[in-house]
Subunit: 335 residues, 4 copies
């Protein structure tokens, strides 16, 4: 049983709290928020948990083995560092930190102290993504030719980060996890349509090596909501539609084959196969619950989480570079 304290009762914190409370391998020991109103509202539902308006009370408590941090991004580093230094395991909301150097410091600290450092890249724990990873690893797609992601909606503005920092972590973690490829370079463009200067529409292009390019469209100003990723492969292709209630993963047996037969090359050099579509059933359990159990499992067995500090760092490295590219009018940034 992993005893958990959660810092942050704002937008996302209550979801973590509910899941730690429901998880059979964790116990919710403490709830904390510097905003006492938020704290009181959430605490009422979890009378068994201790409450505090002081974060240091959480990592200072003997009742707590692990600290979960669901506060604004700019506070992640200080809170996580203190918790790790106090010997606690740490789960942080995405994105892990504001800067690469902060993330690097946390990774080093966790390793030095032998503590689990995990980022809440929730997508990795979705049944749909587990299925996609499985198919890709089994070679079903052949060579991946391109990845194209659209994540757009008329969304509530985040006050302190732009559309890339808000929406990209999901996709970056997913592409990182599914392909296992390192990003070599990237280019990003963004534009702001308010006088706050925060980008609300952005495009990002990642070079993943071996001719694999991944493109992303992030948009807070879209009249419709779309969350769709295409993995185009030489043998099969996958479309992941996160908004579809029951057809999230579709596998298309449509591919392109380059013929090297001389005769074929003379006339039509490329043969298409247009085939069946397959919509596999995917596990419908709540990803957050799976994530929370995985965290507990890693803490108990000393395992490395799927979304460990390194994964969090890789995502932040891309976010930081994307920001640089946007400021430089889309100039390519080598990582």
């Amino acid at each position: 049983m992993v005893r958990v304290g959660v810092i942050g009762c704002g937008y996302w914190g209550p979801n973590l709290i509910r899941n730690f409370s429901a998880c059979p391998s964790t116990s919710l020991e403490m709830i904390c928020d510097t905003n006492v109103e938020h704290l009181a509202r959430v605490a009422a539902q979890y009378p068994a948990a201790e409450t505090s308006a002081e974060p240091e009370a959480v990592w200072g408590s003997d009742r707590v083995d692990a600290v979960a941090i669901a506060t604004p991004v700019k506070t992640h580093y200080d809170l996580a560092r203190a918790a790790l230094e106090a010997g606690k395991h740490v789960l942080i909301e995405k994105p892990m930190t504001r800067t690469v150097s902060e993330s690097e410091a946390l990774v080093r600290l966790a390793e030095a102290n032998g503590r689990v450092l995990m980022v809440d890249h929730t997508y990795l724990y979705m049944g749909a993504v587990v299925k996609i990873k499985e198919l890709v690893d089994a070679g079903e797609l052949g060579e991946i030719y391109y990845i194209d992601s659209v994540r757009i909606n008329l969304g509530l503005f985040q006050h302190d980060v732009n559309v890339v920092w808000d929406l990209a972590p999901h996709d970056l973690a997913l592409v990182d996890h599914v392909t296992g490829r390192e990003v070599r370079s990237l280019a990003a463009m963004g534009s702001s349509h308010t006088d706050r200067g925060i980008e609300d529409v952005a495009y990002l292009s990642l070079d993943l090596g071996e001719d694999l390019i991944a493109n992303f469209h992030f948009n807070w100003l879209s009249p419709v909501k779309i969350r769709r990723i295409i993995f185009g492969g030489s043998k099969k292709s996958i479309i992941f539609d996160d908004l579809s209630p029951d057809e999230k993963v579709r596998v298309y047996d449509r591919g392109i084959e380059v013929s090297r037969d001389a005769e074929a090359v003379r006339s039509v050099m490329i043969g298409y196969r247009t085939g069946d579509i397959w919509v596999p059933k995917v596990e419908a359990s709540e990803p957050l619950q799976t994530m929370v159990r995985h965290f507990a499992d890693c803490v108990e067995k000393g395992k490395r989480p799927l979304s460990d500090g390194q994964a969090g760092l890789r995502a932040v490295r891309i976010l930081e570079a994307a920001q640089r590219s946007i400021r430089a009018q889309g100039e390519r940034v080598v990582l």
Copy 2:
């Protein structure tokens, strides 16, 4: 009555021939193709038209006022130049020519000779695009914040041009027509997945000035077919879905308003309006027939076509620059 000769009986020519034949203000006088088999197959259906395997017979004929050219792109310039020099009006399939200098030469020649030079940018003659243009011109969208276009499908490979030259002319003509903006600079990326080296997936980003960016995704390797353009505006947004049988144009009364009220700015600075959606009925007549009638009308009245040589030239200028940017790994090209 405008007397027309059509050169090219391959993929697209028969569509032009059928429409010239059906149009009440044109008469189909000649049909020409250097491939006598193609010529014979089409000619059988139009016994009244003269046939020839020699293009020069078309522009040399007294029976013909105007020449329509539906041949491979690389032949456009020579054919159009000869027809204009022979005093004929000219309609050319898109893209107008292979290079900007060729297009410029044709524009100059047509002006010098006082002949109509028109490009078959068919989209401009669709009921849906007429409606979009009308709404934009009436200020319904407010300020256009961004344009995002996706034109992807598992398509038959063109043998001599890449995915940009194949698919972009439609969108470029449409954006040019609807916004009336000049392209200041662009950046494009593309990749090829065959050993022919011809790009089959590409992304293009146009800077249209005043913070308006238009982004395009072109793809021959997609498992699904999508042809969708979003015009995101400050007041309303439009989605043009060319594949929808009866909801091609959707107008979303969803906008974003930047409040300058001090009080509002302190808390939530941006107000969303989520409102009605309106799907206007659009004219269902065949765009090619409308295009052909417009051509005849311009010839008869000496009017400038909507898709005149200048429009054709503007599209080619972007195509050429996009090609340059792709070769330079996505470097921005100023026009």
Copy 3:
């Protein structure tokens, strides 16, 4: 402030409890279930409410003005009768009772005692249905020609009622509310595909007079989920798609006009108008909360609820007759 006691903590009760607890004009005073496990689980979240495993404690309590009943249908009558006799206002889950005579008795009792008797026909309190009612009342549809409803899914089997008693109350209440028409006769067919003999697929047809027929398809064995009602009108038509996240109500300006002009009649007697589609924004607030507030409002002001006992009775009358028609192989039953 209306003080409420809720009987039933099974499937639906917790939703009522949550909404009474959140409603500013009601206070949740008592929670009751004869199953002490269910009771304990729910009670833990509402420490302020008194609990009891004895229903008579609820209507016997001075703390309670109104009793809400969310128990199996077969218990509705006894519980509601006792509560009304004890002078309490009563809200009952749909369907109101097992039989017409039970419903009639409750209606009489409520009237005799001057108490509010309301049925939880939740659909009437949805923003989408409020909008449809508004459009129909304003005459936007012209004459309603037909109503066609499909409510099908691969659903969990109810153990004690068939697919009509399970799914029809929603549609019957909606059609009753929107049209205000009385059902003159009906015919129903159903079939069972298990050895339990409970119908899992059924069709129902209601004659609403003046040539208006409403047809319904209810199905627990469908591979897909559909909840769609078409209101076909002489001027406009409405499609209500309950599963659409943001386009629940679509208004089609497509109608049929019968020409009485002699000339027109000779050739094409009927003129179609195919026009715009309009997707009005509808209120997104939770229908259950609206329902609960309406109940409190009726209790406080002595108003008649939209879904009063008479409405509940009308629905039960149709359910009972439908059952009779199914047993008689679809024979028409006059009401």
Copy 4:
């Protein structure tokens, strides 16, 4: 090579003419229409075919082995009878005749004269239906529990038949072909919303024996177009969506299993399997061309067509009975 004469150049005739002309195993010898304008318009495109305004010229001609009839329904019987009596093979548009007795007479005549009598039930020749038939015959669906068909649209009114005679033949032929079941009884309801008294909305229910009921919704007054049939099975279900461009057939591995295990029966008696969806690729060739080739093949080899006179007769028998049921307010008619 089967030499064909086509009678009828109105709405559907030109499609037959085009397909007979294109089919390698038929030659288009004669074209006939009593309306000389229609005849002239079509004849112009097929200069090699003889023309006539007199139907008797077609069956009287030595150039013709087979007569295809695409005229109004009321003329089918006389034309087909004469052609059969003249020793010609006959293809008739659906529905075969106005009455059962007419159809029976044609079937007898064709058998007596040893000639092929075929009805153009085009659906049987669609790739999608071939696939569905294949899956059903292979037992993939298990026991078929129900069939539900919706065929609705805002369609052009037929002047002489109601919505059942207009739309039902497609579905009836399809269900007949796929299930191979005989219809035992039926009930139908219809209503007319013009003063012509011709039903424009109708519902039909067929009892196919062994608890299999097939229900149909036909509608000319719908704001949207839907053509969808569900085959619900004990093991799998199929949805045939004729309007989907590339997903016409979807196979759902979702079934219901009745457990007879005593323990299971006590608690939850029914187990659901919710599984994968599979969208098989189906042959995209034009069904009319396949139909025309099949006709030629049957004529040349003396084979019985899939949609022979008996199939045409079965459909007409249902249409006639449905008409009777509609007039009797939906009373069940035993066949």
